[in-house]
Amino acid sequence: MIVMAKSNIKNDIRLEQYKNMLNVINRHNHIQEEVSNTLKATRMRSIINSYRLVEAYKADSKVAYVGEQFPTEIVYAFNMQAWNIESMAILFAQSVNIEDFFQLSEENFLSRDICSFLRAPFATMHANCYPRPNIVLSNDQPCDCLAKLGYIASQLYNSPYFSLNTPNEINGESINYLVAQINKMILKIEKELSCSFDENNFKKIVEYSNEAKEYYCKTTEILKKSYVPRVSRELLEIFGLNAFGLKETVSLCKVLYEEALEISQKQNTKKKRVLWMGQAPEGFHEIIKYLERELDIIFSAILWDGTLMSLDIENPIHSIAKRAILFHWHSDRMKENTAMVCDEFGIEAIIIANVWGCRNMLGIRSVIKEVAEEKNLKYLTINLDVMDRNNYAFNQVKNRLDAFLEII
């Protein structure tokens, strides 16, 4: 049973938090990936993740909590560890009995109606399993409540806090507004952490970010033409890692590209290709394993405009701002992007995954249906919760998947 931290989290030491984290992972670590069946890039990512995780728990590390799609290049320019509060909870969820965490979030009065991607990190913080942040940097992507969670984290740890407010519409005014906020955030970090923003380091990080992105994009190009098992999944994991700007990510993306190229040249089989819209469960989740026996799943997030965008080396902050707005879920832009992906990637059907509590996906799914109808594609809507099993039963989803598989 996971218990609420008894000590004062605000002053707790990282070593204690590291022990707490190991404790919950070790006690429940029953899931083992089939190593022989994984890509080299996947194993490499796992090592990078482990390294980043351990580094963040070191007493003298500077840790910045960040949200999804946060411009981590800024964080790396300060030589800080970017701790993605949502992704890290998902990582833990693969190893621990997450139900204990959800119980803890309820004991702390957070409603079960909130998305489990938010409840899990909320509880992980209350169980004192995250490394104490030196600063909390949040944005509002993909949702309001992730920014709220950042604020709550700053209160819990008594850490400085800065939030980026990303406009929905993309135009000169909105980009300039975000540029001004990013510049202000840099000043805030400098002031709060008594360090200075190293322009040269930032330039190098932007170059790494672009280099990694170049391999990332080239890998997606391979996917356009070929069925390459597990590569779409790995691209999604790298997207979730959100570590563009690290030298290790360049190597990771390069290895994946080379591996994808090699596999594509040997691969003769072809499967029906479906586009997965919405939050995706981990690669060894029963739904994914079940579908992958018959289908080639392309995860939509790997092909968003923001995901594929490189930064302008001459004006990086401006392009970071533009990218942030492109990441915002916007029905017109998402419709256009989905239509383009369907055409270019030979999509034959769409799976819309409504994750319990994700209001944005629930609200935008009708636009995806429009695309499917316009392109005469079959689509399936499934309701699931990839973390909280109280909100999902595989057998129910399986019935729908079976019917869908028969139709397509």
Binding site: N108, F109, L110, S111, D113, I114, C115, L118, D140, C143, D144, C145, A147, K148, L149, Y151, I152, Q155, S163, N165, P167, N168, E169, E173, S174, Y177, A180, Q181, K184, H330, S331, N354, W356, G357, R359, N360, L362, G363, I364, R365, S366, V367
Partner: protein, 371 residues
């Protein structure tokens, strides 16, 4: 006094018929961060979309989801059912993720002659103020183009004065609720605030003037038994059955820190500043709703009201799936507890389907507190 009070309450109940009779462009709004003054200055009648008539939300569920805030679904249902077909359009504000999706669903699926989406910052600082002002200037330009008119500074100043007057009148009415023996009940108060949003601005101001004069002239109500004083806070709320439940226990609802309570009319726009700047400052300065990030600021505001209204118990009402209010609750609850203020959390729908269980919980909570 009752006659004029009922006349104001009826303004709300008859709002659709009254709006249909108005021979001017009419524009609906959904968030209290809509700068009504700019629309009014353009000769537009503004009214709140309340969702009251959107009881069957089946079609709205199909466009959004049944796991959605019932206020948002009810508003969209009203749109789908053509309740506001007389209106020229709707002003949307990025007041939460679901209202953003409401804007998209409404404008994509329903025909509107005019719509405008205002990007609302989540925190208040110099940059966000400038950006919000920019949004308001864009709205002004957009209205001028659409209606082929000019919104003068004088128009804006006059609109500010008219709305400030409504605010002042509502504030005076709420001031009376600070008394140990208030003449205005919880249901009356909420209905009066709703009446102020039904588009008949001048008529509302005139009637409120009369009501307040009548209250002033009425004998001061006294008694020996001081009632237990309750405050509501949280999501959009207008359910009279719940207020009845509260007041039938012998308690009295004295204040509502919600969007159709104090949050709608608190403060005043500075009439001496440049109008658009003053409007923007007003809306952002009063920003203490769950949409904003600063939960501490929200709590400080809430606690100030608790002290001013001498509140004994708080009921935190969250619409089911109202994520921002649900996220704030753990912190608000903790802070209220630290101050020794009991709070009851109620999660419900706009058109209450679970009233019986809510009734039991409220009765148990208040009876435990009172006796």
């Amino acid at each position: 006094m009752r006659d004029i009070l009922e006349s104001i309450v009826n303004m709300n109940e008859d709002r659709i018929n009254s709006l249909k009779r108005i021979n001017k462009p009419r524009m609906g709004w959904i968030s209290i961060y809509t700068p009504e003054e700019i629309l009014y200055a353009a000769g537009i009648t503004t009214f709140r979309i309340t969702g009251e008539r959107g009881i069957n939300t089946t079609d709205a569920n199909a466009l959004l989801s049944n796991n959605y805030c019932s206020y948002v679904l009810s508003c969209l249902s009203e749109g789908i059912d053509g309740v506001y077909d007389f209106a020229e359009g709707v002003i949307f504000v990025d007041a939460c993720d679901m209202r953003k999706r409401l804007y998209e669903a409404w404008t994509r699926n329903l025909k509107l002659n005019y719509s405008f989406f205002i990007e609302l910052p989540r925190d208040i600082n110099k940059l966000s103020r400038e950006y919000y002002k920019l949004q308001l200037h864009n709205l002004r330009k957009s209205l001028e183009t659409h209606f082929d008119l000019k919104i003068s500074e004088e128009n804006l100043s006059d609109a500010i004065k008219t709305f400030n007057k409504s605010r002042k009148l509502l504030q005076q009415m709420y001031e009376l609720r600070k008394s140990d023996f208030p003449l205005i009940s919880g249901n009356d108060a909420i209905n009066i605030v709703k009446a102020s949003t039904c588009g008949l601005r001048e008529e509302f101001n005139e009637k409120m003037d009369i009501l307040l004069k009548k209250i002033e002239d009425a004998q001061i109500r006294t008694g020996k038994l001081k009632k237990h004083r309750v405050m509501m806070c949280g999501s959009y709320f207008d359910n009279s059955d719940i207020i009845d439940v509260i007041e039938k226990t012998g308690a009295i609802l004295v204040c509502e820190d919600i969007s159709n309570g104090i949050k709608y009319f608190e403060g005043q726009i500075n009439e001496n500043n440049e109008p658009i700047d003053a409007i923007a400052d007003y809306y952002l300065d009063k920003a203490t709703c769950a949409r904003m990030l600063d939960i501490n600021k929200r709590f400080e505001h809430l606690y100030k009201l608790i002290q001013e209204y001498n509140v004994d118990s708080v009921i935190y009402f969250s619409l089911k799936f109202c994520d921002t209010n649900l996220m704030d609750y753990p912190i608000i609850r903790k802070k209220l507890n630290e101050k020794g203020i009991p709070v009851l959390f109620i999660e419900g729908e706009q058109h209450m389907t679970n009233i019986e269980s809510i009734k039991t919980r409220i009765q148990t909570f208040l009876e435990t507190r009172m006796y």
